[in-house]
Symmetry: C2
Subunit: 107 residues, 2 copies
Amino acid sequence: MGITKTQIFTEKQNDLAQFFKVLGHPARVAILQYISNQNACICNDLVEEIGLAQATISQHLKELKSIGLLNGEIEGKSMCYCINVERWTAIQNQLNLFFNTTKSNCC
Amino acid sequence: MGITKTQIFTEKQNDLAQFFKVLGHPARVAILQYISNQNACICNDLVEEIGLAQATISQHLKELKSIGLLNGEIEGKSMCYCINVERWTAIQNQLNLFFNTTKSNCC
DNA sequence: TTTATATATTGCAATATTACGATATTAAAT
DNA sequence: ATTTAATATCGTAATATTGCAATATATAAA
């Protein structure tokens, strides 16, 4: 097997899990933190900063983009990646809804 | 490769990613939601409820236990799984800290 | 136009995850 | 003691993820 049976879950459950999954890699956590710490938007020295190959960083950025967490704008010959604040907040709210709704009724 | 380079990240980044990762599967989201909806603690009909094989459910429960999210108590011949509320809240707080700290400074 | 620089994509190897059948293990019931 | 029921573990197949070198693409600078 090896394949997740997404059909047996609700769309909400799959979406939620997808958000968690994308955030579930230390490189992607580090990338988001690094981008957020830059005052400017020139986010290209991620390769040096993080310490993974350029191809690998590019792949992680793609995954973060896939859930809409990052905006990328062409800035001359480099790319300006920045956090999509609206999406960021929306996802945070969804996760909190999950945490607040899912509460223990026992023990 | 296929192996995550945890050594190049901070412990906090790895921990955070680990929490996200464990929550990053729809079956585990569904398990947590189901347990939280039961008034009693007899959480053994997960297999019927979720629709995955017993071995698979057991594996997912193990992962949820691995980050301390579930408590398991022996209740006769079955197991009583319930959410560890203290841990649950602690993790929610850590995730929110990450979300609030990591804010956009650009665009 | 050529060169240099930044990023994306492709292809591939190594490892991880998901899922399940089969087989323990454990405790209650007979 | 044996049987039944619930859960855990083992072994294994299928698929996914991680990471990188090589290559493609695109823009600025020369």
